[in-house]
């Protein structure tokens, strides 16, 4: 019969998921199955998305869940609808907080990615010859999102290990996850610590890091005194690199939506059509892209 596969993501507006979908679509063309893309921002939407897929006669789906704790519900719903399920990006956990190992997963470890960001910052700081003790760090935070916490905490652990004093790491909570919110939150931190000359910044994604960079610009801190590293590597970051003059946004840790979108879709197809069980766990890594090399990195990762 016709193969129909769902691809459910938590934030359809985010470029990241647009890209995942795009690459999944490539897989669909290649293998000749039908891809159903559904955005589901919360647990309730996930439930109806799965029902919906069941109703249209899909055989399986891939999901990036809005919350990993939704695990048991998702598994139960899929079983009820007789759907095969795989997760991407974020791994489902049970009530006890342990991963649901039976569900095949391809993803990135949020903490690992955060650590890559921290490392990138440390390297750049060393290159500029700053003394970590005198550098201020802006943690653009969005603590209601667990992944976001894991990412920034990963970065912080690396900073601390490299001599950044905990007292110089300042929290800038964003009210929303857009650039303006990060900009406003970071501005307050900068103004509170007018005495600090050199700043580093990081956050949940590129938008967060960019907000902090904009804040430094608006209070008149020169790009030479700012090191911000984002996560994602989509347009917002690329635009920044394309600017004629370098800004404080030195790099971004790119995670490849190609693998996540394309490979998961192929794997699901093989599972549905040929009964080939996918690998239970595939972890991908992030890769740092700088102003100087972002084009190559993107090409390597198969984006562009």
């Amino acid at each position: 019969a016709d193969v129909k596969i769902g691809f459910v993501v938590k934030q359809p507006e985010e470029p990241w998921f647009q890209d995942e979908w795009k690459f999944a679509e490539v897989a669909a063309k290649e293998k000749g199955f039908q891809l159903v893309k559904i955005g589901a921002e919360d647990g309730e939407k996930v439930q109806s998305a799965i029902d919906n897929l069941g109703a249209q006669g899909a055989q399986g789906f891939i999901i990036c869940t809005p919350d990993v704790k939704l695990g048991p519900g998702i598994v139960a719903k899929s079983a009820a609808n007789n759907l095969k399920v795989m997760t991407v990006d974020d791994r489902l956990v049970g009530a006890d907080g342990k991963p649901l190992e039976a569900v095949p997963h391809m993803g990135i470890s949020a903490t690992k990615i955060g650590e890559a960001v921290g490392q990138a910052i440390v390297d750049e700081v060393k290159k500029r010859g700053w003394d970590p003790k005198t550098v201020g760090a802006i943690r653009v935070s969005y603590d209601q999102l667990p992944t976001a916490v894991d990412r920034v905490e990963g970065a912080i652990s690396v900073l601390k290990a490299n001599g950044f004093p905990a007292a110089n790491i300042f929290d800038a909570p964003q009210a929303k996850t857009d650039t303006e919110a990060a900009l406003n939150a970071a501005t307050t931190v900068l103004n509170k610590h007018a005495e600090i000359k050199n700043w580093v910044a990081f956050g949940l994604n590129d938008e967060a890091a960019l907000g902090a960079v904009r804040a430094t610009e608006s209070v008149g801190i020169a790009p030479e005194n700012v090191v911000a590293v984002g996560i994602g590597g989509a347009e917002s970051a690329i635009n920044e690199f394309k600017k004629p003059k370098a800004t404080g946004f030195v790099g971004t840790v790119i995670i490849s939506p190609k693998r996540h979108g394309y490979e998961t879709a192929i794997n699901m197809y093989d599972w549905v059509a040929n009964g080939k069980q996918p690998e239970k766990l595939i972890l991908t890594a992030g890769q740092l892209a700088l102003r100087s090399n972002y084009a190559e990195v993107r090409k390597q990762l198969g984006i562009e």
Binding site: P12, E41, G43, E44, A55, Q56, K69, A95, Q144, L145
Partner: protein, 317 residues
């Protein structure tokens, strides 16, 4: 022809238009009119449907409640956490409903007794309660220990899942309360003219507090069912619910200026919202276009209803 016109333009005209649209969709959209999809559709509107019942009262009495989404999330958290810690699901449910009702009473007292604007008050409690939901679990979702909790959502009676039955029950119950009880009539009177209602002997302050308390309580029920359906308490659940619920009510002919409400209208409003989502996903409409389509459907629904009404009453304005 003449009688068709009469049906269309009558009190139940919205329902008829809706029914026509439903038939149209059933014919044109594949997989729509299957038992599975219908049940999925109904389950997808459970939260909106349940909360709409009391929002209808709130709007009918000229009030406004933005805190419903947070209250649903918060009481879901409470249900799960209290069940986990006491080991008794029943206690968990009681705790959740109580917490919901408390939020409602606080809203009601501040609004009715201290005469603070309902929009601002519930905007404030919306934030505060969301804060509590986040604080209580440090921003993380809380899993359910006792799998029996899931049964609340999974149990089927005559093939229909329990949450759908609960929603249906609430529709019947609140429809009855609105039309057949002094409480309902007084609600509408307050919305029509609060001062006149007061002078006619309606205890306006107490009534308004009751309406908010009920709203909170019902959010508690919705929170429990949601937690059970998604098998965890989620502090971020049900964000934006307030707008969906208010839209469903207004679509169903509840007047924001108070004094006008009907349960059938609200049910139709809720279903329109649910069907729109459902059909868009069945038709695999792209995410960004879904925004546009959703907006258009909303507009179209009110435009049609408006045409109908203005054709019916060549009213003086």
């Amino acid at each position: 022809m003449q009688s068709l016109k009469k049906i269309l333009l009558g009190e139940q005209g919205l329902v008829v238009i809706f029914a026509l649209a439903f038939v149209l969709v059933s014919i044109t959209v594949p997989n729509f009119l299957t038992e599975r999809n219908m049940l999925g559709l109904l389950q997808s509107v459970v939260t909106i449907g349940i909360v709409s019942c009391t929002m209808m009262f709130c709007l009918a009495s000229r009030d406004f409640d933005l805190s419903v989404g947070s209250t649903v999330a918060f009481s879901g958290m409470v249900a799960v956490m209290a069940s986990n810690s006491t080991g008794s699901i029943l206690l968990g449910l009681l705790a959740a409903i109580t917490c919901g009702a408390i939020v409602g009473v606080i809203n009601g007292v501040v609004i009715a007794r201290f005469r603070i604007n309902a929009l601002i008050t519930t905007l404030a409690t919306m934030q505060i309660v969301r804060g509590f939901a986040l604080i209580s679990s440090d921003g993380r979702a809380v899993g359910i220990n006792d799998p029996a909790f899931y049964d609340l959502a999974l149990t089927r009676i005559l093939g229909v899942p329990a949450p759908v039955w609960v929603m249906g029950l609430f529709f019947v119950l609140f429809g009855f309360v609105l039309n057949r009880t002094v409480f309902g009539k007084n609600t509408l009177a307050i919305g029509g003219n609060p001062e006149a209602a007061r002078l006619a002997g309606v205890n306006v302050v107490t009534m308004r507090i009751w309406i908010f308390a009920l709203q909170g309580l019902v959010c508690g029920v919705a929170g429990i069912l949601l937690a059970s359906r998604i098998t965890s308490g989620q502090p971020n659940a049900a964000t934006g619910l307030e707008l969906s619920v208010i839209s469903a009510c207004v679509l169903g002919g509840v007047s924001l200026a108070g004094g006008r409400a009907a349960m059938t209208g609200v049910i139709v409003g809720v279903l329109i919202m649910g069907i729109a989502e459902n059909v868009m996903n069945l038709l695999n409409i792209q995410a960004f276009y879904q925004y546009v389509v959703r907006g258009m459907i909303l507009l179209l629904a009110v435009l049609l209803d408006n045409l109908r009404v203005s054709a019916a009453t060549m009213s003086r304005r």
